[in-house]
Symmetry: D2
Subunit: 343 residues, 4 copies
């Protein structure tokens, strides 16, 4: 069996990462790539590192072409921009949307953080694509809302603990740090080597980052009680990598917490719970893995969890491919079975 | 007036930073540098970047030479290593110790986190050198215990708020990130470019970093109540710079918190409280400044403070020079009045 | 068919890169890993990023075990250290040596740059493993001397031009820049983030780098005339990547030079000659590729070539796997068919 | 005595560096800063790192205000943009132009590499501001053309050797590497952390970089014979720092070459000739220094010189301040006497 795959908005970093991963996928091949800005050009003219390996001509969006040539579409368009296209094709092809458009179940909440929703009627059917947590729902879905990078790094360690009532759902803090690729390929002073290189900063401090409603929606479901989170994103002077340091109150000891996570993820090839020590972002670089380390501080009766992912892989395109595998009944690790690039 | 200054253990990063800063000091000159490892060599053979600018012959420790040639001594020796030397000379010259040896007032606490104290009799007279907080005590001191880098970045924003009762003293969390120079010039895999470059990690998670008792001692004094802190240090892939993200509960609004800090630091040339926005480590690079940004999150009734310093300057050698200025009645900014190196 | 592969000295960076590449190889599996320093430990205790993906117990060198369990051995030992082991097993298994021990054909030359040779009798049979240049010899070899990283980046563009007489063989200059991983995992001030991070320097300037005799041996063969090269290595503040800027005199125009290289490498999946523009090291990161850009400067009647490789992949372990594929008649791209990790 | 100093185009990196250096200058104060883009704003709104240290209101260009308020003007405008302004004020105030507009003596050459010259009548009086080489001419000048960064790093080592006939003036090659700040604060993919961070590349290979005519003009004067140079610029993944590796033929030995340079620069506080070894860019970071190391390669009868500067300091704003000091008879080191920021 071979899947025919299309990518909308293929020239950004998540599109480039999809191309890298699908190139190694044994059962999928790219048959369609769209780009409004560069349509007509070959993708290697836009992404020079593809010269001599993979290449495609970039096309304008064409619903009919997609229906004819694709089994599944990855949409890498910014929030709001893909809604129209997706509603045109969703009856004929499966869609994995990497934007925020179908992550937030509540239309008002989406509108208050993003913009008016143009096809809210699709929200009910959309499945939140946190692969390890919603494996069966994803398997039956035709529209998957691929999670954000920060939410993935925070939800993977917290969801099992909240479900089991092992973490106090009030007073959770996530102090997260992301590589610059999370900001995309667009130009701004904050991605300039001279401004953010050899430096470190916090941004959107307080209740201002758009990933907050997504994180709280899923933590609330897991805890079966309303969860409000304290979330502070930071910018690391590296291209790839994300680390979240998560604090919560618990009366349970380290072993119970660790066993809960180990059990929940025992059949999950990409989530690894450390028996001791803590991971670095380099331990997951360019892989679909999430590594979790944890400690409990007796003096504060708080637990501290450190989770790392590659923001472009498990935090975006890698999880999207994992979801495609689940949607089409392929081995979950197809195209994703790799060892970190180290050093 | 011209001060004669000596440095014990001059060849590490804090020693190098002292030489850089004192070179620009209008009223101080270096008259003595010791190094056990390199004694007899000129310092520029050990620190190549000094070639052609400043140079000294490195000597072995010699109490008599110090007494004859120095008004004040900076000790850059590791904890435990300088105690003996300091007790030999403390009656004749003023001493600023950059190690942890005289920071912890309680001998047992010091012993439990570090090692047996060899001259505990000096602890009572030693003054904790957080310049802006203990300005008058430092002015009269002959032995100053220069604060650690993490404590400086955490105490400067918290002490005024705790003194005024504007921050809840229970449940304080400090998530701190440091440049690699904090680990010193010694060799280890964790300072290897291939291991920690292009990467990010947490270390000593839970109640294990030696700066915890120092932070809690000072927060407890400020709050006039016992404070237990949650502290997580992280390693940034840059040479210099430290950022602490600090979380605490408070019922007071942003303006009240900001006004408290602005008032406390209004006559302090090195501490800058932002009226809006948040600083990056590059904003203080190679300066003695601390910049503080703050936000209050209504949804969590928590305040989030971001403070940045250069771990080698305000976090070590810069604050040491500031303390020397205070001890000798010199203008506080002598040798320290510089604009960040940007970009 | 499945090859059983052993690695001597598996815990350094070239060993780690071999493990990463072989993990994806469809027809090879690792059956033996030796480490004197860590024998008895599992490799994931030494290389943390392998936790949860690949793992092996590290053993001491054991000729009998190797003969019983391996079809081919990669030796990642430093020069001089592997000779003895290799001569013990070379009659029973094929060997790819990543050290310099079998690269230099002339015993005296080897001795003058390295050390006395312990098994010079093997030199005659050893094949220099520059894959694209010695493809057929490698296919028949039982001992392959895997080229150095600098030589690979310099020889790939120059050999075809010298063979065709399109480059003047006198006055060749190679100004090369390498990432830090080329220095290995050992500790030294020059691999300390604070010393070499955010910095750039030249080293071993003049006729002092040990790769010079290797480069000159192969250029001399290609030119069929004695070649003396000017070679200056530099240290880049990055983990991986190598770029060589090569200058030589020629009376031929850009098109002739480019056509010569394009023709020579037309059936080579890993060497890519640009029709215009110049590559960056990121274009080959973590791949076995070499990308070559070239310009001719009319004003100086000189050509300038820029070639990039990943020093750990095409510059070491990737080319070693490519040579294994050639030695055993496997598809040349097995285990090596990947797109650069970008960004 | 106190100089009143104005800056045209103060919000770029060279303007920021001028502000940093002048802030420490004992005999100069900034009395005027212009910015077309940001006029009316305070400079700390544009360059956040100035918050709390230096601040000025940015004004539009106003010849009368400049004449009334300034003794000297630094123009940091791009080539072509400042000509008009400068000709308006040059009769009343001294001008140091950091652009290329007055570096090239030959109007046609300037036009062929840049653009039509708008005030060529000023070219004759303009002095090329390579401080150590044209000290006396600069002292008498009212218009100084501040050299480019690449030319400074190449000319300082070569001019004395060519003057003395110790370097063959044909066949000179300069392989130069620059930090990203040389590209300015403007936005482009090549300054994006994800594109050029953790990477290295060559650009404008062959006879295409605009600094070539400037370099050749000065080498030709020094050699008293026409010099054509081979020049290849490269982009380093760091903010600041420039290293040039220079190759030329010579029959003279290392000692003679080194003595020539040491003698030429013996009274020059900023140029340091190493007796052995080679410098790194970190050795000059944020200083006005140039450090030169050299070796002669007997086998090639070539000499290799490595010179390092900070591209923003000796390569731009630092040399501009040095030239101001010379023009007004101030001590050459005023505002520039600092030790590198290390690490």
């Amino acid at each position: 069996m071979s899947l025919s795959v299309g990518i909308l908005g293929a020239t950004g970093y998540t599109g480039a990462e999809l191309i890298r991963l699908l190139h190694r996928h044994p059962r999928a091949r790219i048959t369609y790539c769209s780009s409004r800005q560069y349509n007509g050009k070959s993708i290697s003219q836009v992404l020079g590192f593809l010269r001599g390996s993979a290449d495609f001509v970039l096309e304008e969006f064409d619903a009919q072409a997609i229906v004819n040539r694709c089994d599944v579409i990855f949409s890498c368009l910014p929030h709001g921009a893909g809604m129209g296209f997706i509603s045109e094709i969703i009856d004929s092809v499966k869609v994995i949307d990497l934007s925020a458009d179908f992550r937030i179940k509540d239309e008002q909440t989406y509108a208050s953080w993003y913009t008016e929703h143009a096809c809210a009627e699709l929200l009910a059917a959309a499945v939140y694509g946190l692969s390890e947590v919603y494996r069966s729902e994803i398997a039956g879905a035709s529209l998957v809302a691929n999670p954000g990078c920060y939410p993935t790094s925070i939800l993977l360690p917290l969801v099992p603990l909240l479900r089991e009532g092992l973490a106090d759902h009030s007073g959770i803090i996530a102090d997260s740090k992301s590589g610059v690729s999370g900001a995309g390929r667009g130009l701004s002073l904050s991605t300039h080597i001279c401004e953010s290189g050899e430096s470190f900063s916090a941004y959107k401090v307080g209740r201002s980052h758009r990933h907050i409603p997504e994180i709280e929606q899923e933590l609330t479901i897991a805890a079966a009680a309303p969860v409000t989170i304290e979330f502070t994103p930071h910018l690391l002077p590296i291209s790839r990598g994300m680390l979240s340091t998560i604090y919560f109150h618990t009366t349970h000891d380290e072993k119970i917490l660790r066993d809960c996570l180990s059990t929940f993820y025992q059949d999950c090839p990409f989530v690894h719970v450390l028996q001791e020590g803590f991971p670095s972002t380099k331990d997951v670089r360019a892989t679909n893995r999430c590594i979790i380390g944890l400690a409990r501080n007796q003096a504060t009766s708080r637990a501290v969890i450190v989770s790392v992912i590659d923001n472009l892989t498990k935090g975006a395109s890698g999880q999207a491919v994992q979801n495609m595998n689940l949607m089409f009944g392929l081995p979950e690790t197809d195209g994703l079975d790799s060892i970190p690039v180290f050093p």
